[in-house]
Amino acid sequence: MTDHPTVILHADMDAFYASVEQRDHPELRGKPLAVGGDGPRGVVSAASYEARVFGVHSAMPSFQARERCPGLVFVRGDMARYANESRKVFAIFRDFSPSVEGLSLDEAFLDLTGSERLMGTPREIGERLRARVRNELGLPISVGIGPVKMVAKIASGAAKPDGLREVAPDEVREFLDPLPVRAVWGVGAVGEQRLLAAGFHTLGDLARADDRRLEERLGDWGLSVARLARGRDLREIEPYREAVSYSEENTFRQDVSDRGVLEATILTHAESVARRLRRDKVQARTVVLKWKEGKRVAPGPRGYRVHTRRVTLAEPTDDGDLIAREARGLLARAALDQAVRLIGVGCTNVIGERPTQLGLFASPEREKRSQLNRALDEISDRFGGGTVRRASQGPAERAGLTLQIKRGEEASGDGVRAQSDDPVRELDHHGIEEEEPDSPDR
């Protein structure tokens, strides 16, 4: 680490899909616009600012959006085009920082730490970045700057639309304190209720709270939420580390003892984990199977017995089928005598793709699989969000299981943490990842 104070920039395209449509179709400019299906089951995936005035927002059912905004124009959307625009946007991001962490097609964190001498103040950099995106791509973008990721992200939200907001280290408290607790990363509806019930309404309430009281009332979780509320985001201590493990798990709505269902669920998780390995251009050598027994053995949320089994492969892989085969093998060797409450598949021992040592004995079959996977990835990239939809529409869902899937991407550096029971990432219904506050990771 350098001696420079950390400076994080969060860049977020404004109503990205809608802005691309308005740029390319001048007749849509100035009109309330929704990208998404307009059929009875359609959902809005992006709404222009003109539509947002009427209360239309993404993930809203289309019929409801139309009720709120009678003049709403619907555009079906073209994921391939948006993905292509996204590549151009990220190319610009990368001109401003070597550390760019993409969160989705239209937003990213940039680490500006120590770049002042070379590139100017953070605000100057932010304005130049906005100007380039506007001039070269004709798209609006908002930028937030802060000493930690969470502050930068909240700042970019405050800057919208088409603005810039910088929060200097000594302004963090003033900036965060009045915000509702829901603004803390990883605090969802349930977390909000817990905090409100405990008497915490704003980030200021949390920031001022005594640690002992927090721990008494909310446990470790309370401490970590308060840490975030104070603007101390532990995830910034070592930003942009490589992930050392990838995992996905789900809790069944009802405990499962049918091996067929377990195996099908394993395949769903394995495919999803493999896709993320490929997305990050890495491969993994160790496959981990985790399951939780349905029988409660102690009170509290951790009152279930958790098992993990792992196997290390001769060659690293990013093939879901192979990962599933290994994980199923682990399941087969495990003497299951209890119904299963939760099952998950993970990969550790992650090896970066390039340069990759090629294997002498790699089978032609392996090469074929990897071509097939690349082709499938391309298709799912083109149609966007396929990753998430496929994972939740897999056999697990058909078996009448919960849609709740937790995804983990750990960078603890020792690999052992891969076994930990902490949910690391939660997936909401349209694929934007929300972080749990007790995760030290990105």
């Binding site: 290390t312 793709e353 340069p355 990759t356 040592q357 090629l358 294997g359 002498l360």
Partner: protein, 373 residues
């Protein structure tokens, strides 16, 4: 047990077993050496034996035995003591409660030992037929292959060197870790027929064998393999080991049969250029890029944290340009042991195995799989 032995003889015997005695504490007695006095008078022998249950070694040393008997004693301590003793006759004597007294000139030590009966039996077998092999040649074969064996315990079938008999008179050794492969053939004569073919000698056993080969002793070393066991004998020393049970991969399929591009390079300058350029390669991948162009080979590396390195070598080549990545260590390992002045470097394309062969020794072969860069 009571005997007298020269310092030189005892030191030599104890030095030989130091690598075998178990350093981990899984079974404390494995840190001991088994001493056994046999015969009587000046015709007697002292047998020194040690094992880690996978590999065992037994050496016979001339000694003046006045009382037969056996005892086990810390191999390391006894070695340290012996080394420091004056160059005179050493007298060893055991007591009934398993103590060993060591006397030499005016020095005297008493060491606590363990009864011989508690020492695990060494893996052993009496071979029907042994095959003599030139020690120096065997040493060279081990040196030129062992480096390529896998150290990854999950690939246990690659944790050793595969040994096979070819054409009834040739010995072949092959090792691979899945990324590179080394293969050496040597003619040993018709005796080779008697040797069991297709065994995998574990790395540790091989290291002991190499040590035995490097000792100053008889020119020949006798080998025998039977079932799961291997045996090597040289003079009064016998090495026994458990072989790796497992199937060695079909290595023939990865040895390139024809290569489109062949360049000849002086081995030393190539090795040194690789050493220099690899200084800036990433520590994890050790990747260097080789670019084959008209009349020159450019070796380069780059590291985002450090910088770039580049070196050119003149070659006799006039063909299509080829850019190919390698783990520099794999190339350096192969060059380092080949003993060649000049090597032929054969390449197909950037994703196919490359081959390094000394120009004066077609039977020493290294195959290296490239890196995708």
């Amino acid at each position: 047990m009571k005997l007298s032995i020269t310092k030189a003889e005892l030191t030599r015997g104890l030095a030989r077993i130091q690598a075998i005695v178990e350093k981990r504490n899984s079974m404390p007695i494995l840190a001991n050496v088994l001493l056994e006095a046999k015969g009587s008078g000046e015709e007697g022998t002292l047998e020194l034996a040690a094992t880690d249950l996978e590999v065992g070694i037994r050496g016979l040393h001339p000694a003046d035995v006045s009382e037969e008997g056996a005892l086990t004693i810390s191999a390391k301590k006894l070695f340290e003591i012996t080394r420091e003793l004056p160059d005179e006759t050493i007298h060893l004597e055991s007591t009934p409660n398993a103590y060993l007294t060591i006397r030499c000139a005016r020095a005297e030590f008493t060491l606590a030992g363990t009864a011989a009966e508690e020492y695990p039996t060494l893996p052993t077998f009496t071979p029907e037929k042994v095959v003599p092999v030139q020690a120096a040649m065997l040493g060279q074969m081990i040196e030129r292959t062992m480096y390529a064996a896998s150290v990854d315990e999950t690939r246990y079938n690659l944790n050793g060197v595969y040994l096979e008999v070819l054409d009834g008179n040739k010995l072949r050794m092959v090792a691979t870790d899945g990324h590179r492969l080394a293969c050496v053939d040597r003619t040993i004569g018709d005796d080779a027929k008697a040797l069991a073919s297709g065994v995998i000698i574990p790395r540790k056993g091989l290291a002991e064998l190499k040590r035995l080969v490097d000792e100053d002793d008889a020119d020949e070393i006798e080998l025998a393999f039977e079932g799961n066991n291997g045996l090597a004998r040289r003079g009064n020393v016998t090495l026994v080991m458990r072989l790796i049970e497992g199937e060695f991969p079909n290595y023939n399929q990865v040895i390139p049969s024809s290569l489109e591009r062949q360049i000849v390079l002086a081995a030393d300058p190539l090795l040194h250029a690789l050493r220099r350029v690899s200084l800036l390669a990433s520590e994890r991948s050790r990747a260097v890029t080789l670019e084959l162009g008209d009349g020159k080979l450019v070796i380069s590396s780059s590291n985002p944290d450090l910088g770039d390195a580049r070196e050119e070598l003149d070659i006799d080549y006039a063909g299509e340009t080829l850019q190919i990545g390698f783990n520099s260590k794999y190339l350096m390992d192969a060059l380092g042991v080949s003993g060649a002045k000049e090597v032929r470097f054969g390449l197909q394309d950037d994703l196919s195995p490359a081959q390094l062969v000394p120009t004066d020794d077609d039977d020493t072969l290294a195959v290296v799989m490239p890196m995708r860069i």
